[in-house]
């Protein structure tokens, strides 16, 4: 059990009742090898799950399990209702104008691929030779590769915003990057590596001036910022269930109804059709047109419970908590000689993922040494190789907090890094 240290009192912005919130997450009671308490600082990788999410999924499997939308029996009706209720919950979570704008996918990658892939086909949103697609250098690979595939296939041009030395998008040349022939601007709201919060609305304004469609990867934003799709400037927005305290295996694509309606089908199969003959088929309306096959039903139920859980705590409160913990972490790291942080060092301009280097010790070795003390962090390129290359590093160690993270856990990390320096005899 990690107890709140004396520093907690001095740290404002922490979630009230943090110790009670921690009790919602059974895994936080885990003891690791050597009977050490778990210090989980890998939430940007995947978040832990509260009991209410676990219970909702178990209850569905134990009492309501059936396929959706095609079973003419009571369980089928219950399962369909639970699945569609999850869509309502996600719509409320995003402040979407219509529940039909919520498409369930298997993860955020699939959501982004859905948009990039269907834009290759003839239709009002088709990207053709000579068109431009704009991304940024701080994207996760899942918001780079789909656009590379699209532009390579169509003979279109891929351009990107570079990064400033302090970890922000370099928007100084925005008018020459987002040009009249730009069809798509796709960017992350919050960087999974640098933590940077990007000015999505400002970039969307310029994109809309030239008639481009704005795609936002909200995988790191949805867990920790209030997301209002109507105010965001996005035309499409993707996030994944497992980072918002929900299960793996489910992601969400939100799109403006008129734009979703202009995209051709993605995967073909059951549920996405209106009628099928041997020669041709006609397709269901949105969102079902994009949900071929049996969907992730129990995962949707879990995601619905998760977004309700976050809403109950309040995304503004979670954001404040993340800023407080991240500020405390940045202060701690600043006090260790040999540590350099990648990305903004002002906690109000960033999310809760903090990547850093420790001079003389490779990130794998940092993570291994911390793991031996029960501290879970991520080491590597975090699926953001171009952003690492931009800062001349091959990989980094990333500590990422969430709504259940305590200052005492940050203290444990800082101690662990000092221990690592000692172990490898650096500094």
């Amino acid at each position: 059990m990690v107890s709140t240290s004396s520093t907690t009192g001095a740290l404002s912005g922490l979630l009230p009742g943090l110790e009670v919130i921690r009790k919602d997450f059974p895994i936080l009671e885990r003891r690791l090898s050597g009977d050490l308490p778990l210090v989980y600082l890998d939430s940007a990788n995947t978040s832990q799950k509260p009991q209410c999410v676990i219970d909702a999924m178990v209850d569905h499997l134990e009492r309501h399990n059936a396929n959706v939308a095609r079973a003419m029996h009571q369980l089928g009706a219950e399962s369909s209702a639970a699945f569609e209720e999850a869509r309502d919950k996600v719509a409320r979570f995003l402040n979407a104008p219509s529940r039909d704008e919520i498409v369930f996918t298997k993860n955020a990658s699939e959501a982004l691929n859905l948009v990039a892939n269907t834009m290759a086909w003839p239709g009002p949103l088709e990207v053709t030779a000579g068109d431009r697609v704009v991304i940024t250098e701080m994207e996760h690979h899942s918001n780079i590769v789909p656009w590379q595939l699209l532009t390579e296939r169509k003979g279109a041009e891929l351009r990107w915003f570079g990064l400033t030395d302090d970890g922000h998008l370099d928007l100084s040349d925005i008018d020459s990057v987002i040009t009249e022939n730009t069809k798509v601007v796709s960017l992350t709201w919050v960087s999974n590596m640098l933590g940077t919060i990007n000015p999505v609305a400002e970039i969307a304004r310029r994109a809309h001036e030239v008639g481009a469609v704005v795609v936002v990867d909200a995988s790191q934003a949805a867990p920790q910022l209030p997301v209002d799709v109507q105010a965001s400037g996005a035309d499409f927005l993707a996030f994944t269930g497992h980072k918002v305290t929900g299960p793996t295996g489910i992601g969400v694509l939100w799109g403006k109804a008129d734009l979703l309606g202009q995209l051709p089908p993605f995967l073909g199969g059951g549920e996405m059709i209106e009628t099928v003959s041997m020669e041709r088929s006609t397709y269901a309306g949105i969102p079902h047109r994009f949900e071929a096959g049996t969907p992730p039903i129990v995962e949707a139920v879990g995601l619905g419970a998760a977004v309700d859980y976050l809403t109950e705590i309040g995304l503004d409160n979670i954001h404040r908590h993340e800023q407080a913990v991240t500020g405390y972490l940045l202060d701690g790291l600043a006090g260790i000689e040999g540590v350099s942080v990648l990305g903004p060092t002002d906690p109000t301009l960033r999310g809760g993922a903090v990547s850093f280097e420790l001079a003389g010790v490779h990130p794998h070795d940092v993570a291994q040494t911390l793991d031996a003390r029960g501290i879970a962090v991520r080491a590597g390129h975090h699926c953001a190789k171009p952003a690492h290359k931009r800062y001349g590093v091959q990989s980094s160690t990333r500590a990422s907090s969430y709504l259940y993270t305590t200052p005492a856990e940050i203290d444990a990390l800082i101690e662990g890094i000092n221990y690592t320096k000692n172990y490898f005899k650096v500094g």
Binding site: D365, A372, Q394
Partner: protein
Amino acid sequence: MDLDSLYQEIILDHYRSPHNAGLRDPFEAEVHHVNPTCGDEITLRVHLDGETVSDVSYDAEGCSISQAAASVMTDLVIGQPVAKAFAAHEAFLELMQGRGEVEPDEDVLEDGIAFAGVSKFPARIKCALLAWMAFKDATAQAHTVETSTKEEA
């Protein structure tokens, strides 16, 4: 978890001062291997003289385990017949896949026995094997070059 069983002093010594590092001429084959999950990279050259591994040179970026493994490997294979070098690779692979149950043979693996502990850390096995995989690949390519040159002659 016992960190010291992973980070043996021999491993840390090789990490701090790697043997045979740097890229050298001549060479018949050069390969670039990447560990896609973590980003560790190695560029490795092999120079064969008939059936003998005359030189192995490399430029590697990665963790202590991957760097030390490259260093230890070059000590083991340079100057040896290809068959003996491949036998050392087999022995090292067996050790890595042994989940800590395999007793390494110091006569075959020399400093490589220090990696016995790595086999108990599944996430790190690929680090220890990166240089070996690159060596095997490059040697096979160099062999093809040698054979085809001989056939032409």
